[in-house]
């Protein structure tokens, strides 16, 4: 089978070429059907309870993702409270309202804010805060005074210090946030006074912008890495003709794999956009092994077919196993319950196996078709053992050192392991999509500036729900009892139907019964009228009881929660129903602070809510409470979108709720983008640990199987363990956050860092088989096999340095990881393995020598 495959490639190269072209055209062609998805919410399955609830909350309270536009004036002592700045704000608001995709009625800005206040004679007055841009300093003053009286606006629409103003722009669909933010930015540029600066941020903008830039990076970083690798290969092999081969393998692998994924209908998510970047090194590694050995073995006069088939035959098993282990590393991502991560893992795993097949077929086919002249040029380099490059000399010296100093190296390794474990223990788990941009990115800048001034551009919602299912059935019982009374039986079919109807919307349910009973009452006489009046009375009392969140005690409970949220120290501000009630109550009375409180009776609260609805923006109320008053949302503004901060808020509120349990019938849950990010990160971290452990065990089993020896298997896991512990230990020590990219890279680390060990051990054993001498084996392993490993490590490590220039941090992270994995696992393989092999040679090479 192995032989047949190699022979097919050597004898029928044209078939292989045709196959490659077919793959590229057929599968690569599917890429045209690409559909992009940049929403981190999709990190959660559509059925994930938290996500379902989050969507329900957005629907229930009419919440939309919002772009936050900030205006900061640094020069005017009064901040944005000057005629020019407010005019600019007013003008931009007006223009934003006309943009397609903006939810006009929910835009929040001074220009469309309603104000409740006292007119001269103490009359209640609803007026637009700033219907027209102010033209005099007096008008500006008045706006400033008004805003200061409205807690719902302070620190949300204007910063407490007056330096900054904001416009919240809700949008109909979050994939509009990037184009709209660009459009708004263009509109804003021409507006403003001296010292005015505009900033645009908000999670949807950050996420959508990330998506856009990520695809730009896919088109820049991946090709740049490819170019860099090409240059490095040229440096080592000095034959453009030869090194085209691995590039072709990489290209075809990437096109075919992406094509299959897209063709199967998967969207290209943040994760899967990284697939080319991941596949490239893996596709190239095997080719470099083959080419490295081939150029070392080949000499003019030798039959290239014989040399290449010998090389491929020798490398077949280790390459198969390195591919299988890498694939396992990625396939283990299927254990992480995050759909895009699963797709990513499965696709990369398939891509790796495809790369293996293509390498085995294409490289030999390509080499035998190379003109003799080109081959001769390669062969001019000296033959195997006499190679005298600095690299070769270095490796020889290093090798003999490693074989001779087993104990020292073992001790050092233990120290590294210990340091690694200590580092891993300190890992800080944290993520925030805004942090995916580099520090100087305009989104990071806007995020920083606006969150310095305001109560926070990150939203979460603490949602309370009241349910008393017993009430409905109790009501039905009582109503039935009345209806079956003689006086009412005639003509009560309509009422009966209403009472039996499903009470999905308690507000509507009781309301309809009341209306029908009231109508029936018009024509009713005597006892019938009395019975209907009784029915009306009980229905109204149940209706009133159902309006839970207008009870003064439940409003007090919400105020307690608001205070507890503030006490967490991570919350900039909360906005909730009691704030509305208090403001309206104050203005209905004298406007004095003493009346800034929740009134004591239910009708009094109901009246404040009815008056709020008599304003220009009655709809604002329904972002806080449902019309049936059975569910309410506390809008929590955070100045940081870090999952750590959101988690702390959640933990601190949990503690409060243990000491202050919610009343009977009330349940509470979190929603909002900032919260959703916490959910998927927690799922991801737990899932990744499972994936990593799962893959570790599977790879260990594969190693034991490959080497038919548990000891060799364990040995092969050493460089991998050293790499993982060192890389993640460093993350812990340096304090870099363990975020989404870092989590996903654990599978790459595991999959790639075992490769060199497999090659090393496999070659050790076959050399020992050939020579029968450990000393000779130890010498030979540091010739061609170690050079192949080192070349690979250098090519991949340096090849990904262009990623360090990307404006997106996940790309930088990948670049750093790739280099670290290569360097650490290369060193671990070439230093640790010989050391351990020499220490345990008595056991390991006693029986295995000459046996196979």
């Amino acid at each position: 089978m192995k032989q047949q495959t190699i022979q097919l490639a050597i004898r029928r190269p044209r078939i292989i070429y045709a196959l490659m072209i077919l793959l590229t055209v057929l599968l690569g062609g599917q890429i045209a059907r690409i559909s992009i998805d940049t929403d981190p919410e999709n990190m959660l399955s559509a059925h994930q309870p938290e996500r379902v609830f989050h969507n329900l909350v957005e629907e229930r309270f009419g919440l939309h993702d919002a772009i936050v536009v900030g205006l900061v004036n640094k020069t005017d002592p009064a901040g944005i409270y000057n005629v020019a700045s407010l005019s600019a704000l007013h003008q931009l608001s007006g223009k934003i309202l006309t943009l397609e995709g903006v939810v006009e009625s929910d835009v929040m800005s001074l220009a469309v804010a309603d104000n409740i206040t006292q007119a001269q004679n103490g009359a209640l007055r609803f007026e637009w805060m700033m219907k027209e841009a102010p033209v005099t300093a007096g008008q500006v003053q008045r706006v400033a005074q008004m805003v200061a009286r409205l807690p719902l606006l302070t620190n949300t629409l204007v910063s407490a210090d007056g330096k900054a103003a904001a416009i919240y722009v809700p949008i109909t669909s979050k994939d509009l946030s990037y184009p709209l933010s660009i459009e708004i930015n263009t509109l804003a540029e021409s507006l403003g006074a001296d010292g005015d600066a505009w900033y645009i941020t908000g999670l949807p903008v950050a996420e959508d912008t990330f998506g856009v830039e990520m695809f730009i990076q896919m088109g820049i970083s991946a090709p740049l890495a490819g170019l860099m690798i090409f240059l490095l290969l040229w440096f080592f092999f000095r034959s453009v003709r030869l090194i085209i081969a691995p590039m072709v393998v990489a290209m075809v692998t990437i096109f075919a794999t992406m094509g299959v994924m897209i063709g199967l209908g998967f969207t290209v998510h943040i994760m899967s956009s990284m697939i080319p970047i991941f596949l490239m090194p893996i596709a190239i590694v095997d080719s470099v092994h083959i080419m490295s050995e081939f150029t070392d073995d080949y000499a003019p006069g030798k039959d290239p077919k014989a040399v290449i088939s010998g090389v491929v035959e020798q490398l077949f098993t280790p390459m198969l196993f390195t591919s299988l282990t890498s694939a396992t590393g990625f396939a283990s991502l299927l254990l992480t319950p995050i759909p895009p991560v699963q797709v990513f893992g499965a696709v990369v795993a398939c891509g790796i196996l495809l790369a293996f097949v293509l390498t085995i077929l294409f490289i030999p086919a390509y080499v035998v078709r190379m003109p003799v002249a080109s081959l001769e040029k390669l062969g001019k380099q000296p033959v195997t053992d006499e190679i005298d490059t600095p690299l070769a000399k270095f490796l020889r010296r290093g090798g003999s050192f490693a074989f001779a100093n087993g104990k020292l190296i073992a001790v050092l390794t233990l120290l590294v392991f210990a340091a690694g474990v200590a580092g891993v223990m300190q890992i800080q788990i944290n993520d925030n999509p805004v942090r995916w941009f580099k520090q100087d990115h305009r989104i990071r800048l806007a995020d920083r500036v606006l969150n310095e001034h305001f109560a926070g551009t990150y939203d979460a919602f603490f949602v309370l729900e009241y349910e008393n299912s017993a009430a409905i059935s109790k009501f039905r019982q009582q109503a039935e009892a009345l209806l079956t009374r003689e006086e009412l039986t005639a003509g009560s079919a309509g009422l009966q139907a209403l009472i039996n109807a499903a009470a999905v919307d308690p507000g509507g349910y009781y309301g309809r019964i009341i209306a029908a009973a009231d109508d029936a009452l018009f024509a009713a006489r005597d006892d019938t009228a009395l019975a209907l009046e009784a029915l009306l009375e009980i229905t109204e009392s149940y209706q009133l009881a159902a309006k839970y969140f207008q009870r003064p005690d439940s409003l007090a409970m919400i105020e307690g929660l608001q205070q507890a949220l503030m006490d967490s120290g991570r919350v900039g501000k909360t906005n909730a129903l009691p704030d509305v009630v208090k403001v309206v109550n104050r203005e209905l009375h004298t406007g004095d602070e003493e009346h800034y409180r929740v009134p004591h009776t239910v009708p009094a609260v109901a009246e404040t809510l009815l008056q709020f609805q008599s304003s220009h923006r009655p709809q604002d109320l329904w972002h806080m409470v449902t019309p049936d008053l059975q569910s309410t949302a506390i809008w929590v503004q955070l100045t940081s979108g870090d999952n750590q901060d959101m988690s702390r808020v959640m933990d601190s509120l949990d503690k409060y709720l243990i000491e202050n349990p919610l009343p009977a019938g009330v349940t509470a849950r979190w929603a909002g983008k900032t919260f959703i990010n916490v959910v998927w990160q927690r799922t991801m971290v737990a899932g990744m640990l499972k994936s990593l452990l799962g893959a570790f065990i599977v790879v260990l089993l594969m190693m034991a199987l490959l080497f038919r020896s548990v000891l060799f298997g364990l040995l092969a896991m050493l460089p991998l363990s050293a790499t993982i512990l060192t890389v993640y230990g460093l993350i812990g020590w340096t304090g870099k956050y363990y975020d989404m990219p870092v989590a996903v890279l654990s599978s790459l680390t595991l999959g790639l860092s075992v490769d060199f060990a497999i090659h090393f051990i496999q070659r050790m054993r076959s050399l020992y088989e050939q020579t029968g001498s450990f000393a000779e084996t130890a010498r030979l392993i540091f010739e061609a096999p170690s050079r192949a490993i080192t070349r690979n490590a250098i090519v991949i490590a340096l090849g990904f340095t262009p990623l360090l220039l990307a404006p997106l941090l996940p790309y930088v992270t990948v670049g750093v990881f790739m280099a670290s994995i290569m360097v650490i696992s290369g060193v671990a393989t070439l230093v640790l393995l010989p050391a351990m092999l020499s220490l345990s040679r008595a056991v390991l090479f006693r029986s295995s020598g000459k046996v196979r």
Partner: protein, 265 residues
Amino acid sequence: MKPLLIALGFAVSGLVYGQVLTDGDEIVAQANLAAYYAGKDSRSEARMIIIDARGREQRRQFTVLRRNLEAGGDQQFLVSFSRPSDVRGTVYLVNKHVGRDDDRWLYLPGLDLVKRISAGDERTSFVGAHYFYEDVSGRGPAEDTHELIATTDQHYVLKHVPKNPAQVEFVSYVTWIDRQTFLANRIEYTNTSGKLYRRVEALETREIDGYPTVVSSRTSDLTNGGYTDMRFRYIAYDLGMPAAVFTQRSLRNPPRQWLKRPDAE
């Protein structure tokens, strides 16, 4: 002048029957009388069903007493809420003036508070409905310029442009006024973006005590969805209500005699 349909009353002068009018101002004057000035006084019970874009329902029930001081001129309104029960007893008293700001008072029994309501602009929501305060009491015909843009078999179609655009949220609106009754059957509002965003329409018109009356109407939010249906019943005209009914005294002591629903025959 100009109309806003709905209405708490209406009427048509028999004199113009059969004639085809060509003057926008005159049509609007007639429409204003038809919609808001029917009879010397009137009593009706309104029930509003407010349906939001998500299909959720709220109801309001109130009784409206109206008395004209002069046809097409000053009027008095007393609006008393009976449902939902938590705002029962809330009363609005309005002295509508032509050519100057109305006087408005509010009584809130739960807070035990009589509050004057500042004139301000009248395009605020009427207790959470899609109707504006101004839809209920009538927009002064003098506040807009009127242009007859079409005359169909059934309707006069007029376009109205506000004289003071800063006070309103629309740029213009178009009304379809029934040529027989002079009741507006439909009003459509256009905003600054040139978008049709709001519609008021008569759903049912009946003749009561000789006055054509819109008994059912709907106002729709065309941007976000959602609408309010308003239905008037137990309507009676020319009851001879005394001026005393419309004094501040009635805020705390509602005139039960006139608010009470008449007995069914």
